[in-house]
């Protein structure tokens, strides 16, 4: 890592001026090391290639911009499901609002509760994937998270967990600055569905490290709320063992600034990694999906499906990479990123990348940006469907191809309903 230039140094010092490292407990070493990494890399700036399309300024200011509270009119996304619910209010765990943290085959502890302990098994995992994810591309905001996270959950899954674990985020302070770090460890053959929903804070930095052992299955479905003034940067790091499955889907509606990074390693043969997202944005909306999938084992499958609907000057970004290591033969990699621009003011910036060192692989990628299909619109109208309703139908059909990646049909249907509601509210 090269020495940082002065403006970067200044920006880094400014960001860290309001933060402090804990001085005791099992995570101290990992946090110190992350802090050192961060200081060498410096916080991201507009001149960094990886931040070319997304301005990190609001993520690195010493204090967050004020964000108005959002009062949802609709019920909570996963509220009707039988689930184990964990609630964070402005980035702080709430025991009162959460369910008892236990379940069959499951151990859940709050990060802040175990922080003072000298010994904890999480020491072997905390920050490990984040550190690995700094190569070949720097992810300074993830290092910042490892160093300074003030809360989170550590989840150990030993078996198949019947109920999904749900993390609900609540935003009750206009100036909250939340840094959460979750570690999820799935033992061989274990199976967990993790749900996340709700606006988290005025500014939100979240890292989730997921260790998926051989034959384990991890399903993740997240909805990023309709709180318009959200500024969020999230990272998912996951390591997949032999014949394991990782599937993650994110629904994003509104938000001034959201960057979701997903960094996956297929380290065991026959692993499956799917990551998908559907987002809808109107006006001063900026949404960035950045994905990096490394194939480092034989006959693994990876799939990226991202769809964005943008209007009134909204911006969508997709940076997706598939890296196939020399020994990762029989790799099956697929990547599609598409945007539907409902007017001329909106824009979609895409950077799909394939880097392949094995010779027996099937990798494909595609990226498109376009308007509503006029032929299809005319066809629907000629059958009596009014123009607005027809546009809605076509827009939902476009998003549906990403939502189809969600295996649970009830959840997929609920997501489609949310998207339909959004389109109606926004008069599309």
């Amino acid at each position: 890592m090269s020495a940082v230039t002065n403006p970067k140094q200044t920006a880094t010092d400014a960001r860290l001026s309001t933060l402090s490292l804990p001085t005791s407990g099992w995570s101290t070493a990992a946090r110190k090391s992350a802090d050192a990494r961060l200081r060498v890399m410096g916080v991201p700036g507009r001149r960094d290639e990886y931040w070319r399309y997304t301005d990190p300024a609001s993520f690195i200011s010493a204090t967050p911009a004020k964000a108005a509270l959002f009062d949802p009119k609709e019920s909570e996304m996963f509220g009707s499901l039988d689930r184990i619910n964990i609630v964070f209010v402005d980035g702080e765990f709430s025991a009162d609002l959460s369910d008892p943290l236990n379940g069959s085959g499951l151990e859940i502890v709050r990060l802040a509760d175990i922080a003072a302990l000298d010994v904890h098994w999480a020491k072997e995992y905390y920050g490990v994937l984040e550190e690995r994810g700094q190569t070949p591309v720097h992810r300074p905001l993830a290092a910042l998270n490892t160093a300074y996270a003030n809360d989170g959950v550590i989840i150990h899954v030993a078996d198949t967990v019947a109920k999904p674990v749900n993390i609900t985020y609540l935003h009750q302070s206009e100036t909250s600055d939340a840094i959460l770090h979750h570690v999820i460890k799935l033992d061989a053959g274990a199976d967990l569905t993790l749900l996340e929903n709700g606006p988290a804070a005025a500014r939100f930095n979240k890292v989730m490290e997921v260790f998926v052992a051989d034959g384990a299955k991890f399903h993740h479905i997240r909805t990023q709320g309709r709180d318009h003034e959200r500024r969020a940067v999230t990272h998912i790091f996951a390591e997949l063992g032999t014949e394991s499955v990782f599937k993650s889907f994110t629904l994003t509606a509104n938000g001034i600034m959201t960057r979701n990074e997903c960094v996956l390693w297929l380290n065991g043969d026959d692993g499956i990694a799917h990551v998908a997202g559907a987002c809808v944005g109107d006006g001063d909306f900026h949404h960035d999906d950045t994905v990096f999938i490394t194939h480092d084992a034989v006959a693994c499958e990876s799939r990226q499906v991202f769809k964005k609907v943008l209007r009134n000057g909204a911006t969508g970004v997709f940076q997706g990479k598939i890296l196939v290591k020399p020994d990762a033969q029989k790799t099956d990699g697929y990547q599609i990123s598409q945007s539907l621009l409902l007017d001329d003011d909106s824009q979609f910036l895409a950077k799909p990348e394939l880097e392949i060192y094995a010779d027996d692989v099937a990798c494909s990628h595609g990226s498109t940006s376009g308007a509503i299909d006029e032929e299809a619109l005319y066809y629907l109208r000629s059958r009596g469907v009014p123009a607005k309703q027809a546009t809605n139908l076509l827009t939902l059909a476009f998003l549906g191809e990403a939502v189809d990646e969600v295996e649970d049909r009830d959840i997929a249907d609920a997501i489609m309903e949310r998207l339909e509601g959004w389109l109606q509210r926004h008069g599309v």
Binding site: Y379, S382, G384, P386
Partner: protein, 251 residues
């Protein structure tokens, strides 16, 4: 039913006149056929009547049951009872055929101030009508026309027609791309819909379709006009001699 008077149409983007004074009246209960060489304006006529963008009416009128349709949006024309079976039905990925049909049926009912069809009632009717067209459950579930064969697409058009029960049906080269069996099936579907209150305008290149859908009146269109009108025998004349003789009469 359908009354077209002196219809002149040009392309919106270029100075090209396509229809140069079409006069045509289709009465309720009758089947009219239009034949004509390529480029005579047959498909343009069907597009203009259904309200496709890209055309400019420079003169003349078209009305359905006395209502001027040229000023209406495509969906209003559909609700007024006009239906066009497309020559090239459009594929709509992501929209299930059943959803599409139900949305269309209920949108038209709503526009006419009628009650929407319940899901159960709709399902019963669609299954029944799909069966006579040999459209299976799988075709109803799949996205509209996506991956359908040529014959399946055309049968799907007729199913839409059967569900929407329009007053005036225009079939634009519904026989193109169909084998003999598929053509019979489509023709049977059309014939089942023939009744006193419904008019048909069948655009075709070949007399063969008219063996199955027997027309009352046959028109020959050329150079943007209807140049000859007669009975079913006119179609046979074209089949045997081509258009040369008729075009020669015109010259």
């Amino acid at each position: 039913m359908l009354e077209i008077k002196n219809l002149h149409v040009k392309l919106e983007d270029e100075d090209k006149q396509i229809l140069k004074g079409v006069n045509l009246t289709v009465e309720a209960g009758k089947v009219h056929a239009i034949m004509g060489p390529n480029g005579s304006g047959k498909s343009t006529l069907s597009y203009v009547l259904s309200g496709k963008d890209g055309y400019e009416v420079t003169d003349g009128s078209a009305s359905l049951s006395g209502e001027d349709i040229l000023e209406m949006e495509p969906e209003e024309r559909a609700a007024a009872g006009l239906f066009l079976a497309f020559q090239y039905p459009v594929e709509i990925p992501g929209v299930g055929n059943m959803t599409f049909l139900r949305t269309a049926v209920n949108a038209q009912r709503k526009a006419r101030g009628e009650d929407e069809m319940s899901a159960a009632e709709f399902l019963k009717v669609v299954r029944e009508r799909a069966k006579t067209l040999k459209i299976d459950a799988d075709m109803l579930k799949r996205p509209v026309n996506v991956g359908f064969s040529g014959g399946e697409k055309k049968r799907n058009e007729i199913l839409q027609m059967a569900m929407l029960e329009p007053k005036m049906c225009i079939l634009d080269e519904t026989d193109s791309g169909l084998d003999v069996d598929a053509m019979k099936l489509v023709a049977e579907g059309v014939n089942a819909l023939r009744d006193e209150g419904r008019g048909f305008l069948v655009i075709t290149h070949y007399q063969r379709l008219l063996d199955h859908i027997k027309p009352d009146v046959v028109h020959i269109m050329a150079q943007g006009r209807i140049i000859k009108t007669g009975g079913p025998e006119l179609a046979l004349e074209v089949e045997n001699n081509g258009y040369a003789d008729i075009l020669a009469e015109l010259a």
